[in-house]
Point group: C2
Chain length 323, copies 2
């Protein structure tokens, strides 16, 4: 923790970004980057460049092909170019600690600014703007542009809109607020194409659709239909495949109170995602050394797939009986 991490308002954050002494500005996002951090960095970066700043975009990880439509995405620096980088200001977006930005933390900076909507923060920055009620860091950035009276062109709007819709699941998650909607309304007013953005974010590889077919073919039930689960056996496991959304298939079935997604990441290591309507699956996950939220939790069980399934299903059934 910094000797002094000062919490600031939106206008102070804007002034810091446009301060004349901050000529070289790096924008860093978290590892395993998603639409929120990428869109936020690209939108802010495009604006700062238009104001004469030299901007460096840092993401210490592969960027998913689905984000290739974002204007400026090709400008993210390659990891090997970070080492010698020195900037006036390092702005960390959508991450609450330097650990979350991976090797981007090795960049030398005179001043650190942190803008985030997550609850946990290590207070590493000189200045912090944190709003845990914002559905996305992109929503905060829209407020920043709005509060500072900064122009939002079509490309910037596309980036910020992508950021917002990623983190609120296209306005479906509980974090969606009237403010989220007003931000989206304003960005739509900038002439963006919402169908183009959503179509682009939907894009998948043929292999990921085939994997989904195989996984869904194994849809199973326990506790008389109150538990539904799917599995990726180790021979089908691909660490690069995007399969996070698979849990939604067992989750949204009539009568299902708890859903589990078993992924055999190793021959004796099984990762488990849990979802529920109102059962406390965090408590179940904690029993296996994991954690999470009431209705969305996870854990890793050091057992082959079948044994892990047996243990988890028994734990879920016991939890359902206690309800």
């Amino acid at each position: 923790m910094k000797a002094e991490c000062k919490k600031i308002g939106l206008k102070e954050a804007g002034a810091l970004l446009l301060a004349p002494e901050h000529r070289r500005i790096a924008l860093a996002v978290h590892t395993a980057p998603d639409g929120d951090c990428l869109g936020s960095a690209l939108g802010l970066g495009a604006f700062l460049q238009s104001r004469g700043k030299t901007v460096f975009l840092l993401a210490d990880d592969l960027i998913g092909a689905a984000y290739s439509f974002l204007p400026g995405i090709e400008n993210f620096l390659r990891l090997e170019d970070y080492g010698q980088l020195e900037v006036d200001l390092l702005c960390v977006l959508d991450a609450g600690s330097l650990e979350r930005i991976g090797k981007a933390a090795t960049v030398k900076a005179k001043c650190y600014l942190n803008i985030d909507h997550h609850g946990q923060n290590s207070y590493f920055a000189d200045r912090l703007y944190q709003d845990t009620k914002a559905a996305a860091t992109g929503e905060i950035l829209w407020e920043l542009f709005d509060a500072c009276g900064w122009d939002i062109d079509r490309d910037i709007a596309t980036c910020l809109y992508t950021a917002i819709v990623t983190d609120c699941g296209f306005f479906r998650y509980g974090n969606t607020t009237p403010k989220t909607m007003r931000a989206a309304a304003a960005l739509l007013g900038c002439g963006i194409d919402p169908a183009y953005i959503s179509d682009s974010l939907e894009m998948k590889t043929p292999d990921s659709v085939r994997l989904l077919a195989k996984v869904l073919a194994g849809l199973s039930f326990a506790a008389e239909g109150r538990i539904a689960y799917i599995s990726v056996p180790h021979e089908l496991y691909d660490p690069e495949a995007q399969t996070d959304s698979f849990i939604n298939y067992p989750r949204y079935i009539f009568g299902v109170e708890a859903a589990a997604y078993f992924k055999a990441v190793g021959p004796r290591t099984t990762r488990v995602s849990l979802r529920s309507r109102d059962l406390d699956v965090a408590a179940v996950a904690v029993g296996f050394g994991g954690g999470g939220h009431l209705r969305a939790a996870g854990c890793t069980i050091e057992e082959p797939l079948e044994q892990a399934q047996k243990k988890m299903l028994a734990a879920l059934e016991a939890a359902l009986k206690k309800k």
Copy 2:
């Protein structure tokens, strides 16, 4: 067509609905009812009841189980109760002709009001409010409540929000406008739970998930990956299964320019849905006696599945070559 179908504004529509001589009001929706027409009718119906009107809700079709969460859904009349019904005002929502409401058109009414956002209209009503730029009839109804200063409670807001999100695909379709977003922001401000609504709309039966697995297992490609297609063979065809969304799986694959979904609705009858990024699939569908929009079209081919596939794939390949 009526001798006189007068186009009116929102306030006139509001006045007509609350006119003292309109004590018994029927609200009718189109056959194969969706979230837009059901939510619109329920939201308006709840308000009219609160103002002392006797309200009859008419839907000449099965109502999907996914809509069972909508407040008041149990109040839709059963078809056999229509015959003797006489009302002062019949308000047709989200449909542009009496044919679209099926047997609900047999109800006797002194006055007909039509509120719709579709482009085609048979001008059957005495009074018509039509806004083809509205993403949903639910969006029009929100404007009606807003223009008339009518109170929107949590239940009404849940119904109108469901109506809007159904027809704009949770703000993903191109019909989403800043006004759609402002309507949603206002409805969220009424204290509704967006995650509860979206979760409820996601609900599926185990059989529909199993059918999806089987259909996706047959994902195929043609024209070197530029065409992707899936099929429901006749032995798997279930007229009651909701499978409209299946076309999105071949559609959103990298490199795919045209997607087709073949459904063997009979041993010698194949229904085909087409989607594209920019290929004119309406022109292709017209060649088979069908029609639709540039990027979303469909037709029925009076051939068994395999022959229908061959003919359609050849037509799509020819269209791609001409591009």
